[in-house]
């Protein structure tokens, strides 16, 4: 148990609450009631494995932070008290203070915002986490995370709108605010609250206003839409801010006051309006995911195309199925899926713990995606084993083991089920409200489009080569390849047009991402779009010249190269561009641009700069 001092100051103690039955979102504040009585009151929390129940009489009520934005002086005492208590290194902070500001000297106002985990009613981190590292407790409603369970995929850091979970690239795991439940157990407010020097930060049962406070607002300028997670934080802001407030960090977002008095993000053209290539900046720590999504989609596209073609009796594919080349083709699709899984594992902070990625099938799209792709790979693998005895080379080497055609077909069809599920949840993974740039149907058209184009080309090339070698007629396959590329490009194109249209009018962080896409990466973006258009045209050409083998081969080779380039640019853009609905940063701390700069110039080599020198 946390030890209360003899001289503990009065302000550090939680006050006796006076609260309604339900919170603003109509959820019961009593968490035993909210859990439907599934959990008994008076349960031990076993903090640091220590038994015993705390003395806090309100421990089964949902607690919340209360932040008086009028008062915060930006003194960092809350952040420091938190890091001191939790023994965090400089580059990790469970609580951070950033600010927005506006006006013209001397009519100038800065509003500091101190933000940690809001222990949400709908904890998207918990739902997203594939390892089930998160628990929302009936004690205080605290959302706690176990760093030892975490394998460092970072998905919770994507879905959280408040930047609460902290991914430590050195330890390869996430950790976060624990609400100081050890202090709460003995009636003390969290360390950050007790340390506050502006009388801005407070804490208590949700909807219970602290002493001397009159508002319990849901939002202030710079705070993301509370509808995403129903966060347990309430605000007081009685002093008006200017109609437009800006951020000091590199994020090209500012906030504008709407007719309803709410501030919404709009683009702040911090990066100018020039269109640039910035190819070097396309590389990021998400590179393994670029490869994972591209190769697994290619594999699925190629395998689905072949299997469906064979099922529907498409002559050249049936012939291919019977050829000696079918086994290598299936092997390639398995290998690609395997490479994808490997890549997604290397993306983890703790790759050797990849097996924990299937622990939260009930909630997490990451789990379902992983399991889907894994099972897909497994069934394609079994299919490979089942077709192997048919293969002429196998028979030459190993003898005749019999035929298992029915089984093979069954396995191929079965593989398509987890394959589809995997692909679908791969898409669902990115439908994150806190990341508006991804949270669009275009993500689906892009994933399916890629599967069609790259999968179509892979299957097309292998089938064509086989037929040319065996002396068959490849023109139908050439036409089919052309059709796949055309459809894929069209699908991708329609998605991009719709995405650009929606992002342009979005008034959210997605619009900001799109602004960066059109400026910092403007030329790269245009190149990719041009390639898509050109490839659609080339695909039509390919379909018309299908009988001309030499020309077709040239066009397909060209398509292969350009499609891969387009896919690579498109997918890297997808990852580097996304701007989460995070809180405003400060000039150095929580400023991505400064972190990048510090790494570039070597300032980050001094650990006290608080920037991890080398991310990977």
């Amino acid at each position: 148990m946390w030890k209360v001092r003899d001289d503990e100051p009065q302000y550090a103690f939680l006050k006796e609450p006076n609260v309604p039955e339900v919170n603003y979102y109509e959820a019961p504040i009593d968490l035993i009631a909210r859990s439907g009585g599934a959990i008994p009151a008076g349960r031990e929390m076993f903090i640091n494995e220590e038994p015993g129940v705390g003395t806090n009489p309100n421990r089964n009520k949902q607690h919340a932070f209360h932040f008086t934005a009028d008062n915060c002086i930006g003194c960092h005492a809350c952040e420091a008290a938190c890091s001191e208590k939790n023994d965090n290194p400089a580059h990790i902070s469970f609580r951070s203070v950033g600010y927005v500001e506006g006006g013209t000297y001397p009519d100038f106002k800065r509003m500091n915002i101190s933000m940690a985990c809001n222990h949400c009613d709908d904890p998207v981190c918990l739902k997203g986490c594939p390892t089930r590292a998160y628990t929302k407790h009936v004690e205080y409603g605290a959302v706690l995370q176990d760093p030892e369970t975490c394998f460092g995929c970072g998905y919770c850091t994507w879905v959280c709108p408040y930047n609460a979970p902290q991914l430590d690239p050195i330890k390869g795991q996430v950790s976060k605010c624990n609400m100081c439940v050890d202090r709460l157990e003995v009636n003390l407010k969290p360390a950050c609250v007790s340390a506050c020097l502006g009388n801005a930060l407070n804490f208590g049962v949700v909807e219970d206003l602290p002493e001397n406070r009159e508002q319990g607002k849901l939002s202030i300028p710079g705070f993301p839409d509370p509808e995403i997670t129903h966060p347990n934080i309430r605000f007081q802001q009685t002093k008006q801010m200017p109609d437009e407030v800006t951020r000091t960090d590199g994020m090209p977002v500012k906030y504008h006051k709407g007719d309803d008095g709410q501030y919404r993000p709009v683009v702040d053209q911090k990066k100018g309006v020039d269109k640039r290539w910035s190819l070097g900046k396309l590389s990021s720590r998400e590179n393994p995911l670029v490869i994972f999504t591209l190769v697994s989609q290619t594999s699925i596209g190629a395998f689905f195309l072949a299997t469906l073609g064979i099922l529907f009796g498409f002559e050249p594919l049936v012939a291919f199925r019977e050829s000696v080349m079918y086994v290598p083709f299936v092997a390639v699709t398995v290998a690609l899926a395997g490479l994808g899984m490997l890549m997604s594992a290397t993306h983890l902070g703790k790759p050797m713990r990849f097996y924990r990625g299937f622990n939260n099938l009930r909630h997490s799209p990451v789990c379902r995606e992983g399991l889907g792709i894994c099972l897909y790979m497994a069934f394609v693998g079994f299919h490979l084993l089942a077709v192997l005895p048919e293969n002429a080379v196998f028979i030459d080497l190993m003898g005749d083991w019999g035929r298992f055609s029915g089984l093979a077909t069954g396995l191929a069809i079965t593989a398509m089920i987890p394959g589809s599920i995997g692909l679908y949840y791969m898409y669902r993974c990115y439908r994150i409200p806190a990341r508006p740039f991804w949270n669009h149907w275009q993500t689906a058209t892009s994933f399916v489009g890629t599967a069609m184009v790259l999968g179509g080309l892979l299957a097309g090339v292998m089938v064509m080569a086989t037929l040319l070698w065996t002396g068959g007629d490849a023109s139908a396959v050439v036409a089919l390849t052309g059709a796949m590329v055309l459809l894929g490009c069209l699908l991708e194109g329609v998605g991009l047009v719709g995405h650009a249209r929606d992002m342009n009018v979005g008034n959210n962080e997605g619009s900001v991402s799109h602004y960066i896409q059109c400026t910092l990466f403007g030329k790269s973006y245009l190149l990719r779009n041009a390639i898509l258009v050109a490839n659609a045209a080339l695909a039509i050409v390919l379909m018309t010249i299908a009988s001309d083998v030499a020309l077709s081969l040239t066009v397909i080779a060209l398509l292969l190269a350009t499609s891969m380039a387009a896919a690579l640019i498109g997918r890297t853009l997808f990852y580097v561009l996304v701007i989460p609905t995070t809180m405003p940063g400060a000039f150095f701390w929580k400023n991505k641009d400064f972190e990048e700069h510090a790494r570039e110039i070597g300032l980050a080599n001094m650990p006290q700069v608080g920037v991890v020198a080398d991310l990977h």
């Binding site: 001092r5 003899d6 001289d7 503990e8 100051p9 302000y11 859990s35 599934a38 959990i39 076993f46 903090i47 640091n48 008062n71 002086i73 930006g74 003194c75 960092h76 005492a77 952040e79 420091a80 890091s83 001191e84 939790n86 023994d87 400089a90 000297y105 001397p106 100038f108 800065r110 500091n112 904890p123 089930r132 628990t135 929302k136 407790h137 009936v138 706690l144 176990d146 760093p147 369970t149 624990n178 439940v181 050890d182 340390a195 020097l197 502006g198 009388n199 000091t248 911090k270 000039f587 150095f588 701390w589 400064f594 070597g602 300032l603 001094m606 006290q608 700069v609 608080g610 920037v611």
Partner: protein, 727 residues
Amino acid sequence: MIFGRKNRKPITIADKKVVDWKYAVCGYCSTGCSIEVGLNAEGKPVASRGKGNAPVNQGKLCIKGIFEHELSTTSGRGTEPLMRDKIYNGFTPVSWDAALDRTAAEFKRIQEKYGRDSVAVVSTGQLLTEEFYTLGKLVRGVIGTNNYDGNTTLCMASAVSGYKRSFGADGPPGCYDDFENTHCLMAFGSNLPEQHPIIYWRLKEALEKRKFPLIVVDPRVTMFAQFADIHLPITPGTDLVLLNALAHVILKEGLQKQEYIDAHCNGFEELKATCEKYDPVTASRICGIDPDTIKHVARIYAKAPSAMSIWTMGINQSTHGTDGVCGINNLNLITGNIGIPGGTSLSITGQCNAMGTREWSSCSGLPGYRMLEKPEHRKEVAEFWGVDESFFPAKRGLQQTDIFPAIESGEIKALWIVATNPLTSMPNQPRIKKALEKLEFMVVQDGYQDCETVNYAHVYLPAAVWGEKEGVQTNTERRVNLVRKFTEAPGNSKPDHWIFSELAKRFEAGQKIRFPETTSDIFDEMKQLSKGQGRNLDISGMSHDLIEAQRGIQWPMREGEDTGNPRLYSDGVFPTPNGKANLLAMDYIEDNEVPDASYPFWMNSGRVVEHFHTRTKTGKIGNLNKFSPTPYMEMNPDSAKEFGVEHQKYVRLVSRRGDAVVMVQLTQRVPRNMLFIPMHYHDCVNRLSLGLLDPYSRQPAFKQCAVRIEHIDQKEAARLNVERRAF
């Protein structure tokens, strides 16, 4: 999972396994917060927390205090004395005997050759009061140089001079409790939330209990200015004009407390005559505050049942610093706001023990606010120490800011620097570097071997820092508080008082004077010296243990009293010849380097909350330093547009002294013709600053000079930025 799961996940919360908490007063600023440092089973400091029942901070700490336990493991500490013949050679580690013998021998040689005053000593506000007292005894009573001063000349000298001119003696008359009683608070050039966050919290608590007007005078829209009821964005360096104008309005409208003035003040007629010239319209054209606002503020202040003023470097670091302080004192005297609850002139001091050095170090005179200029004081101290009275000079010697020019001119040949870093902290750094190269001998005594000034030293003496020795410090409200020793100094480094006593033994005179070994013995000696008729600075009722028990005691606490006294001059009796305070008639003379066509920007400087002074401590603690790891300046976005300057890019600033490379932070916090640069970074703001001196306090005007902006290649700038940061 939401509400329950079959297999409970462990809840792991860091446990620092503290077995013992040690009491200390914080070693950063002068607020004087009581800290408890947590030690683990190995005796290693692992945690800090505010002392719950301490009167100053009531359990709170600012960011620096929260991580103060990490000081004991900061990099760059000196562990062995170092020595070299020439400053272009490398250092060799030597024994304490070798280092101290050489130091004493060089001091003696130089004093014999060039005279007693050719050795100068520049001390600090960082030591324990007992150490200051010991150093004073050594310098005044043994070495006998008159060129002895502290770095407090850079921060509080104007407050000291102003208090002396107005009230006859140094010593802030008010206390933090005045916030609870005042009906109006006016802050001049003080950014409390950033510089003294705990004092701000005390004020905020008072304001939440009972709202009273808050007026902030500052050219920048700091958080404090933003939260003020009335913000006066004054033109830099013109506070005296505003203060005279406020007095003008009060006197014009008959709002003064005439009976108080008549009973307790000298010089009323002269003040009245001078202030007559500063009508609000005339004043507004100089100080930039409109006449109506001046009148409004004057009325609020004068009509409040009690009103108080606080100030910090915005006033002190100015060519009119002392006049500004006296102007504030005038304002409070004519409104009867001295020595009453909620009515005071309270300078908010800088360093943890700036007050201790003012009181006991003998820098500006003799211990216990005694003056060299008074024969009876010379006699008293000479007898107490057992030295010849004639050994003391009859007049104070050079101050820190005059010592460096005296090195330049060849009057001073040897310099002993104690716990200060003039190479970063003095204005006009290029001039300081050049001067230091001329010295025949320089000793730097500091906890940090990587403190930039060490680069110019012949001898480096590694000293113990906060928590590695025991003794007292005095805070802004005259509260004497205790630091217990809770950890060992690294390697062979030693407490400063040990170094002083050991050096004394190497002088003939030093062998005759008693230098007590422990700080509590030294404190007992100081107690004896603090006694006397009519003395305010009386600590004779205190002891180390009693100080800890009461979490600090405000002097005066005379023998036999239970505790200290919160305020001075409550009886209206001042330590002047006739017992009355002096109202001072002061004219404003425009003497700053002001922006012009070639150098179109005001350069202003100040603090950030996460750093202390020249970053030798805070630059090494990641959880502090990360909030501002590299130099930057605030610039107005509108003028940035005009000059083609971009946010978060580097620029080169050029003044008539030198240049600096900083990163740009665009914000409307500053006016279009001003740049604000935090003062903590080496090779930055003081390559630019001019530092014209206040005629009384000799304190430099750090905050007023002119600079221009030049573009610089971004890669080159980044390279320079990294190169100039060893920490």
